[in-house]
Point group: C3
Chain length 136, copies 3
Amino acid sequence: MEVNNVPLTKITAPQHLEQAKVLRLAAAVQAGLVETCNVPPADLFQMVYRVAPECMILDPNFGYVHRSSEACVIEIALLGGRTDGQKRALYQRVVELASEAGFRTDDIMIALSENAAIDWSIGHGLAYVDVAAGGK
Amino acid sequence: MEVNNVPLTKITAPQHLEQAKVLRLAAAVQAGLVETCNVPPADLFQMVYRVAPECMILDPNFGYVHRSSEACVIEIALLGGRTDGQKRALYQRVVELASEAGFRTDDIMIALSENAAIDWSIGHGLAYVDVAAGGK
Amino acid sequence: MEVNNVPLTKITAPQHLEQAKVLRLAAAVQAGLVETCNVPPADLFQMVYRVAPECMILDPNFGYVHRSSEACVIEIALLGGRTDGQKRALYQRVVELASEAGFRTDDIMIALSENAAIDWSIGHGLAYVDVAAGGK
């Protein structure tokens, strides 16, 4: 299997953010993955968690960043194998697109985690690596 | 410590799914772990997150799978060391049991992540690896 | 970059727990990270998820631990590189502080996961490793 498939994105966003805006952020993340990490556009697996503002406990100023009450956290689990350059490009592109969607660039945090091809099953109880090897 | 303990399961399910059905899915995951990965039945740590349907953003057709509005995502963090064969058996068994519980096999996505024995504390501020080494 | 930055903490707590108490738990986690893992106090990134009691499916007695309906699960993603000793100290200190905050020591489960320096962007679409290398 090429190392380009099956990211799983989780976005945690405060409840007071308009849902349409959060969905634009989700779209920005997927577009960033497609453009920088060779993810097929239809390889789309995202969950959004809305929490009370007091459940987002983020330092307002750490790391030269000035966070507002609209700050969101994006976690992306993906197959190991992306280069550092791809990850840098991903961060930049997601935040560019989020900015176009109305977010301040301060308000986008991204954390990646990696696993292996055998660690995914996207349906029917099959390991995705076996499905991918056989076709699509 | 044997590599058989302490999975942490997270299930994200749409709000409109009946709670009893989601709990049957949780039971299917645990039974699958017990049957295929030597997890003790009482080694049960699961959290369920219910989100609005629009917060489950899943491509309806990617990867030869046709997802419905009842699609759920299961994340399992577990100790590194399971074989590829165990992971394949886990996917298959969880989905078989989920099917018996009323789910379409298209609607079950599973993603695994691994960590190390030292990465777990299940109570009292003790590393679980130390507790496990001393008895149970 | 020193291996001391950017933990991401997620706490899942039952809805019936008083919010102030959950926030004290969050503070205990951060203080534990600061005291045992050289995390700067302002390096604070936490999300709290409140779920219905039936969405916390935890064995009440596994592993010499007797969990109550107030049991919480803490997940911490952090840069690889902490020693086993630091992790043991982290568990102990978090639970000591949680106990001072009114929690039973049985009710605190902690699971760690590790990633790499390049896996973090805390704002502006920049890899945090690049920001950290350039200053702060």
